[in-house]
């Protein structure tokens, strides 16, 4: 079993994970275990996850990609985003000075464990302003129902 706060976002473990991240941010990396799929801060792309009553929304902040070369797969409840970003620096030559090189380039993969109630056949992905938004529908049985009292 893998640890993921996405499975139990509001559980004690989720809260511990959040606390751990905040402490890490404040005091540097600690020796405590982390989510097996988390990456170093500043890793490309950063990910936000939200949910509504009928979908799970994954936002990947991945600027400067060619949308046709981004791979999004869902395999056994794990959403995986793979892509590649070309370096935008010019070739080293006479008269060119590089002062800052903070933007990462090359291949990347990020994975997010989805909740159990999603329907992997109903996925929409949209790339806009450098944000890849993946919307996965939740199964009808997981959606809230109003029950009429007889």
């Amino acid at each position: 079993m893998y640890e993921s706060l996405l499975n139990y976002p509001n559980s004690l473990f989720g809260q511990f994970e959040r606390l751990r991240r905040e402490l890490d941010d404040a005091f540097g990396v600690s020796g405590l275990p982390s989510s097996i799929r988390s990456v170093a801060a500043g890793g490309v792309p950063a990910i936000n996850v939200g949910r509504t009553s009928n979908s799970v929304e994954v936002y990947a902040f991945a600027p400067g990609l060619d949308a046709s070369k981004v791979d999004v797969t869902i395999d056994r409840g794990v959403l995986r985003i793979t892509g590649e970003r070309a370096s935008s620096l010019p070739e080293q030559r006479e008269g060119v000075n590089v002062y800052a090189h903070e933007r990462g380039a090359g291949r990347f993969t990020r994975a997010v464990a989805l909740p159990d109630d999603v329907d992997p056949t109903q996925v929409k992905a949209n790339y806009r302003d450098g944000v890849l938004l993946i919307s996965v529908a939740r199964r009808e049985s997981a959606q809230p129902k109003r029950i009429t009292v007889q």
Binding site: L5, L6, A46, G50, F61, P63, V131
Partner: protein, 125 residues
């Protein structure tokens, strides 16, 4: 289903928390090129300013959020990028070229075409 709303409500621009966008900066014979990663910032939320010899870049992240969205996990928590650079005087700030594509801002600041050495005349008397 989705409406365009800022991910977080904004207040006064100068007092807002912001993160530094990652940048690449390089110089060649004709000028300086700056690339900045600002994912989620649309063109109309990007602000570029040159004041005296200071260049400032600021952008607000706008994400389309469906109704009733509840955050589960967030690595991007501050929906604003801001970074300031000091320029030098051989750069021509009136001819800055800017473009924003897929969340990457590209700025080209050319060098003055006629950066002539100034001659100082010594007055007699």
């Amino acid at each position: 289903m989705s409406t365009n709303q800022p991910a977080v409500r904004s207040g006064d621009a100068d007092t807002q928390r912001a993160v530094l966008p990652a940048v690449d900066v390089y110089e060649d014979q004709s000028g300086i090129t700056l690339l900045a990663d600002m994912p989620g910032v649309p063109k109309d939320r990007l602000e570029l300013k040159v004041e005296a010899d200071t260049l400032s870049i600021e952008g607000q992240v706008v994400a389309s959020t469906p109704e009733g969205l509840e955050a589960v996990y967030a690595e991007v928590r501050v929906p604003r990028y801001r970074r300031t650079f000091t320029l030098s005087r051989e750069l021509d700030t009136t001819k800055v070229d800017a473009s924003l594509k897929d969340g990457v801002l590209t700025l080209r600041i050319p060098k003055q075409a006629h950066a002539q050495p100034r001659r100082i005349e010594v007055q007699a008397g």
